[in-house]
Structures are given as C-alpha cells and as structure tokens.
Symmetry: C2
Subunit: 327 residues, 2 copies
C-alpha cells in the first residue's frame, strides 16, 4: 500500500541505508544524493514508518500529559502550552484525563509509559508514593514538588500573600479561605502561606476547609463564609470564586460591597465574571512550555540532577475587591 524505504531506494538507485540517512538529520549523505532521495520519496508519497523507526531506536518522539480535568480551563491552558512547544519539536502529544480521580493516575501513567518518551503529570491528586514506581520513564511534575523529581511549579505562596496584604490594606481583618482537594500540593502551599501571613498581619483567618474545585464547591464555600465574621473570601481557584459569587448574589450579598472575593489562576473565567474577578495570576501556557523544555533536558541526560523550576505569580486587581462596608 504505502511505499517503504526499499521502494524509494530502488527508485533513487541507492541502498535503503542511504534512504535512512537522508531522512535522519545527522546522516552523512552527499547533498546530491539526499536531494535525489527526497525527490523520489515525495513522488512516491513516502515517509518513514514511525513504528519501525521506534522499534529500533526506542524513541517514539511522543510525549504524554496527564491532567485531572480537561474541562477546567486551567488545565486546558497548560495543555495548550505543552502542545505549542511540542509542535515545534515535531512531537505528538498523548493526553489522559483522570476525571479528578487519584486512582486513575496510576493507570494513565502505566498505559502511557510504553507509548511515549516522557510524561508530564499535572497537579497529581495522588500521593507521590502511590504512583507506580517501576515505570522507568522520565516524568516531569507540574504544580507538585517532591524530592528527586523534576518539576515546574508556581510561587502560590507569594501570590496569596499579595492577596492577603492587599485585602489588609483595604481594611479587611477578617478573611475566609476556601481550600481545594486534600492532596493538592499547590493547595497546601496556599494554606500554609495564608496562615503565616495572617499571623504577621494580624488578620483573622477563617479556614473553611476543603471544597470541590467546582462551581458547586463555590456555592458551598459562600455559605460557610457568611457564617463567619469575614468580610472577604479567598477561594482555591477561579471556578470556586465564581461559584461563591453566584451564591453571594442569590443571598443578597453584594460583591464587593458586602463581601470581597479573590480567586486564583487568572483563567479566562475571571474576566468573564461580573464584576470581573480579582485573582492571583498563575502562568499556565508557560508552565506547559517549561515542562516540555525540562522533559527535553531530562531525555537528553537521564542522569542529570532533577530541576525544580518555579514560576512567578502576582495579584491581579479587578472588580471584586474593595474596602469593607462601614458598619
């Protein structure tokens, strides 16, 4: 059906070895024969069979990415970053979505392991030690750090610190925080940072516990917040913040007049909200791109020291934060 290197070799009057060299950049072939080979190849519609190439080189040229939820714009953007960078390197990407189920992460890892050269694992919901350890494949984590692992994270601590400092400056000294999934490393960072900063600033912090990283989680968080004396709510992410805003509206609480709200991630959602959402910007495309870059280095030297890259975050002031109403 499709033509093989042998067909091209015959047509160009060379050996299959020469055809192979002509198609691999490094190959030492004279310009004239390379041109001849490439011409015949085009004429015959030939391109090297990736399976055969892979069987012998052991490299697929593909990379895998595993995310908790594709429908979450946060992860969609990360994948777009991976995609963009991978396209330049002519790598194809295999995507796995675990539906926020930690249990499926091991399965996804295992099923991708034999298919790709390396895997990017974004915001794992599992404990690191619960991940299969016998995969023997380079893995770069996004938004999770662990000893001996390569990773790209963001400075969530600084971002939420800025948020709290800003709220304090506006006059809020009773602030609620709605946390995310228990095993979210970045969630842990946020909580820890808020505790420290609250103590330093003399702000009273009301920890509402962990809610689902969804609209529904946000609805619940709003009610919890209203049961405290807090005049401002910091949410785990933009989705939770928007859910909370809906609920505040339904309960007749004006935002930001009666309650200030701060999200996290700066996804497109934060600009869609009415009023638009004050949030912590977390680079997403950049995280995806950086993860591919790290994976390439890892692939180039498997024994290299793991790199832990940290991206900057910053508070973005929009319309949901204001001084608390005087009482």
């Amino acid at each position: 059906m499709t033509s093989t290197s042998r067909d091209v070799a015959r047509a160009a009057g060379v050996s299959v070895a020469t055809v192979s060299r002509a198609f691999s950049e490094a190959g030492a072939v004279s310009d004239s024969t390379r041109r001849k080979v490439l011409t015949e190849a085009r004429r015959l519609g030939y391109s090297p069979n990736p399976a055969a190439r892979r069987l012998i080189t052991g490299r697929s040229g593909n990379i895998g990415i595993i995310v908790p939820d594709l429908a979450n714009p946060f992860f969609a953007d990360i994948i777009k970053g991976v995609q963009r960078r991978a396209r330049e390197g002519r790598q194809a990407i295999l995507v796995a979505d675990t539906d926020e189920q930690a249990r499926l992460e091991g399965d996804a890892l295992r099923s991708l392991a034999r298919q790709v050269d390396g895997i990017i694992l974004a915001s794992p919901r599992s404990a690191i030690e619960d991940l299969p350890g016998d995969l023997n494949i380079p893995i770069v984590l996004i938004h999770r750090q662990a000893p001996g692992w390569w990773s790209v994270t963001a400075d969530f601590a600084e971002g939420v610190r800025q948020a709290l400092v800003n709220l304090r400056a506006l006059g809020h000294d009773h602030v609620a925080y709605a946390g995310g999934p228990h095993l979210s490393w970045s969630g842990g960072m946020r909580t820890e940072s808020l505790r420290t900063c609250a103590a330093e600033l003399g702000v009273h912090l009301y920890e509402l516990g962990s809610v689902a990283p969804t609209i529904d989680g946000g609805l619940a968080a709003a009610d919890l917040a209203l049961a405290t004396p807090a005049t401002a709510l910091i949410a785990y992410n933009d989705v939770v913040a928007l859910g909370a805003m809906r609920r505040f509206g339904a309960r007749g609480v004006d935002v930001p007049g009666g309650m200030s709200v701060v999200g996290c991630d700066n996804t497109m959602l934060s600009q869609l909200a009415v009023p638009s959402l004050t949030t912590v910007d977390v680079p997403r495309f950049e995280a995806g791109e950086a993860a591919v870059a790290l994976l390439d280095r890892y692939l180039a030297d498997a024994d290299a020291e793991p790199i832990e890259q940290v991206l900057a975050t910053a508070l973005v002031i929009r319309g949901t934060t204001a001084p608390p109403r005087q009482t």
Copy 2:
C-alpha cells in the same frame, strides 16, 4: 533493560508464540499455560512492546483528535467524551490543537496520520477539499457534513429555530444574529435556519455578519446589535453571548430588560453568567463518544457506507430572555 517475550517464554517454559497468544485475547491457549505465562510476565515486569506489535499488525490502538481550540470549553468537553470512550477500549488519544488556524489542520492531519488508526476532526475551519486527500486513514468529522464522509453533527437548525420561536412568543419581532467563522459548517446551518424561520414567523432578522468566536467578538457584536432596532440577540456561541452581555452592561443596556440574549452550546459558561444564559444545548460529551463509536465501526469495515449521525439539540431557557420592554 525491559524484558521481552523471549524472556517470558524461557521463564514459563513455552515458545514466544504462546506468549504472544496469551497476550492477545483471541489466542487459542489453554487456561493453565496462559496463567503460567501471565504469572511469569508479571514477575518479570513484561508487557508487549507496542512498537513491535504495531509494526507487524499495522494497528497502533491509538486515535487522534484535532480541535480548533482546546481552551474553548466546547471542545474540551468533546475531547472528554472521546477520552472516556477511548479509555474503555484501551485506546490512547493523541490531541492536536490548531489555534483556530485552518492552515494547521492539514499539518495536524498529516502528522497524526502515521501515528494512529483513525482521526476525529472536530469543527474543521478548512474547506473539505483543502484537506490532504492522500492520507489513507479513516476520518470521522464532528460538526461538519460532506458527501462520502463519516460524521457526527448536531441539529443546530432545530436548536436556533426553537430559540427564534421562543423569542417571537415573548414578543420580539426584531432579532439580531451574530455569526461565527466563515467556514464553520454549523454556523452556516444556524444562519440558514434562522433566515427560513424568520421569514415564516414574520420576524425581522438583522444579520450582523461574522465575528470571532471569542469574548472580543462578543463585545463587537453587542455594538452592532445596538445599532439596529433589534430587541434580542442570538449569538454564535456562549462565549460570544457572554462577551456581548459584558458590553451591553458597559453601555447601560439591561439584560434581559433592554435586550434579550441567546447563546449556543450550553457550556458551563452559560451557567456562570449573571443572569444565567438562555442557550441552545448541544451535546458535547455525546458527540465525542459517538465519534469514537463511529470510528470503531469504520475501522472494522473500511468499505462500509459512511454514516452521518445527527444529535438532538434543544433550547434551554434561563435568565437572559424576557419580553421586550414596552416603548
């Protein structure tokens, strides 16, 4: 490093052929030997090398999906549907994002063609005849029909018809429509249906032309709509509708009091909007799942008659539609 079928064969005291059979469902092996082989395989950490398997069978067990924009929740949901169905069939999925650029669709198609058994092409922005025709790989289209092609589409005509009928019943007889990308097949369906229905219902339809399927496109559409006598706006999709709502708000036009708005797709965004958005529900997970199912049938019988599956749509009434204000 990793063990091969030969290692397992030796350990289990059988031939490589038996190992192969034990690992392929259909293989005729006695239960006892299969168990023995599987045990040794597990002990040695063996699993069949997909590249080798593929080289000989010609099947990769992978499928490709190409979308205009991963960050658009509409496509993210389609991919989730594909993903869910593919996971059951133990297929991995390769995802390509073309950044809304028609030009990249051909590239994506070509680069995936050798890597997967079949491709799902969602909402292509290219004309069908501009797609490479020499790929020799099963393709299922989503939201595009073309003679001789397999496809899954939705009945957009019915959905927007319901929207117009509903607006008419509320008392609107001047309705604006903001269209999407020129080569969007589903966009064409919407336009055509609206024209026909408007004529039947005696509604005056103001076609605002085509805007970008983004927030910014929505902002622009709002201004165009306000320059007409229309009291209601039907938008290409939810994103455009939300953009328009923002702009109406900024220009002091109350929604739905001063202007009713209808979106399309019923993505999560429509529930996030304030007020929540009246929209046309378009099945997305289902479209992704159906596309995989069709691809499986196509793969099973390459000479089968192409199937054109059409999913139902329906108007979902929420908070952005109301009778026009009396003047």
